[in-house]
Amino acid sequence: MKKISLCWLAVAFLLVPGLAIGAADFPKGPITYIIPFNPGGQSDVEARLQQPSLEKNLGTKIIVEYKPGAGGALAWTQFSKAKPDGYTVCGINIPHIILQPLSQKDAAFKTVDLKPLCIFESTPIGLAVKKGSKINTLKEFIDFAKANPGKITVGISGKLSGHHMASLQFEKKTGTKLTLVTFTGAAPQATALLGGHIEAIWGNSSDLVSYQNDMKVLAIGTEKRMDTLPDVPTFQELGMKFYPRIDRGVAVPKDTPADIAAKLEKAFLDTVNEKEYLAKITKAGFVAMGLNSREAMKYIAEETEEYTKLLVEHDLLLKK
């Protein structure tokens, strides 16, 4: 059965380039939705939730394909050079697509090579300590960090990631110094915190919702409190203009014809605004975004400027 589906995939690959480009009869064949991460990750879950409704809206099969590697850079580098015919779309993550070209030599794509169709979801990042920790509030955390520079060990998932940037911004805003412990993913990071091996973590809202019985979330990077974490204050409430988060969307290569991109944009926006979809992702601990292509482009441009400044300050910008 596995072999058969692989054959079909191969057939699909052969057929796709042969299809005529034109919006009127687009799409004429299956559309490949590339996930730059491992199966089972959040990007995959989102794509799987969108899949049935996307297939209905576009009237064609959606093939979800995984291309994990280099924190997404592998997929985005290849995708930026893909045929811009609308038959391949790719999940994008912010800040990943901004940070990688700015800081990694091998990430051979530019942020503007990926034209966003929409940004559908935002994952706020929060700061959490283990239940039973002597730190109870954000203020206590900051005070302790100030009194003991470098003493607090904070787990992040991945270097030059959303967590890493959040931590740098936090240190700058509060004048503290933390010791960063870089894990390869959210699971080992949470395990280390629950086992008492590190003091605190920067965590994605979804993970914090899962572990809320075992952790104390000190603050979260949303503007309003989250329904799924009603007792957790926002950084804003506590007097910090600080909104750390990871955003997810979907993109096509930048030279995709405008009418085809518009058709895909509409299909995606219709899908991610459906009640059932919104209910599911809200329950899992995410915040729905629903930015359209134009808004998403503007948003990415603003964020690029912000992150460039931050990287320059920490001497992390790639030297050409």
Binding site: K2, P39, Q104, K159, L180, T191, H197, N213
Partner: protein, 505 residues
Amino acid sequence: MDLLNHLVLGSQVLFTPINIFFCFIGVLMGTLVGVLPGLGPTAAIALLLPSTFHMTPVTAIIMLAGIYYGAMYGGSTTSILVNIPGEAASVITCLDGYQMALKGRAGPALGIAAFGSFIAGTLSIIGLMLVAPPLAKFALAFGPPEYFALMLLGMVVLIYLAAGSMLKALMIGVFGLLLSTIGMDSISGTQRLTFGILEFSDGVGLIPAIMGLFGVAEVIVNLEEGITRSVVTTRVRDLMPNLQDWKDSIWPILRGSVLGFFIGILPGPAPVISAFTSYAVEKKLSKYPERFGTGVIEGVAGPESANNSATGGAFIPLFTLGIPCNSVIAVLLGAFMIYGIQPGPMMIDKYPDLFWGTVMSMYLGNVMLLVLNLPLIGIWVQVLKVPYPILFPIILLFCLIGVFSLNYSSVEVALMIGFGIFGYLARKFQYEMAPLVLALVLGPMMESNVRLSLVISQGDPMIFVTHPISAGLMAVTFVLLVSPFIPWIGKRRKKLQEKVGGEEV
């Protein structure tokens, strides 16, 4: 009494036609992807995920879990028959399994792998049922220093794996460690030794390495010399393990089950590590360690039980903490979210039907696998009758398709061929490949954990001895390393060897 109620609940969930049917589909698919080299349970589950959307979550999880433990049954088949591991966890089975097949004992090897898997699978489900919650805490006790100590012990195991020259085993192991430094440095984010090839930034792929070192290299070696294989027996009686086989295997099976279960709870590629560890333990405990690698049945029974038992252990952190400890479980966790189930510490209480239904399905699945696999042995043995000019091109084809299907990456295909040539040359000089594979598995974890430990302790190496678990593991490692130098242990060992030798003559 509570447990009894739960079992009744689980059975009620399980014994509906639809759930039994999908349990069967799951274990069947699992056996298939296990047999086919390169195609692993992670890919299979991801591929089949969309087809489960219209099912209830329980049915879906029953089927997906079936693929996972079913794959561990199938993985040994190609290891034994053609020296190509179907799964990374079955690498070690090649050592003695293939030798058994060369001696015309493929049947008993396959048989003991199936029975061992069944016993271990069943024991690990009992473990999962009885001790899941307290054991979850055990997993949490493992932080970076504890992992480093465990990995270090794993590296010492390398030495015991050597059938031939210990020096050569060490050399190839260290070479594996060097290879494992390729890729993005997980602490600083710097690319190392990637030569601008993005595919290498996550390190050398384990699957291309295994398929190259075993599959491709095996084909090249056979092209050159051609194997002499004992005539395959077709008498059914000889297809099954005999009484002596059972006597030799029962303890390795039980030890492998316990070992695999505990290692399974820990994050990481548990089935692989548990299989290697079990092999090393059996060799260490054996009265005739020198015969390991020449086709002793313990070398198949122990590891194959351990990798199966590890799958049961791996479910514990998932159900009790919501933490996925390997890639297959991560896909399952993703599936929970799609079905709208919030994973986490409360899952067993909130969704008792899901947990107990899945546990009960694993009993049934294991029985199905045994019933499915025993008759297959007769068929698999027939594979050995296929003439080499036909068999080898097919093997090569499966290797190529298998590796390409992982990430659709031609770089990985090239990597596999490179490893194949290396494996062929290494074999000519009598180097073993198992230490290289183990080093590739352990290397990255060992490096990142030693560095994380030192970050946590602010550079103080005492962290490895002040943490009790890590100190204990370090002590075991130390004793293993110095034991050959302590005269009285050495003498006793020699005496023992002489005694055993004397009995045999």
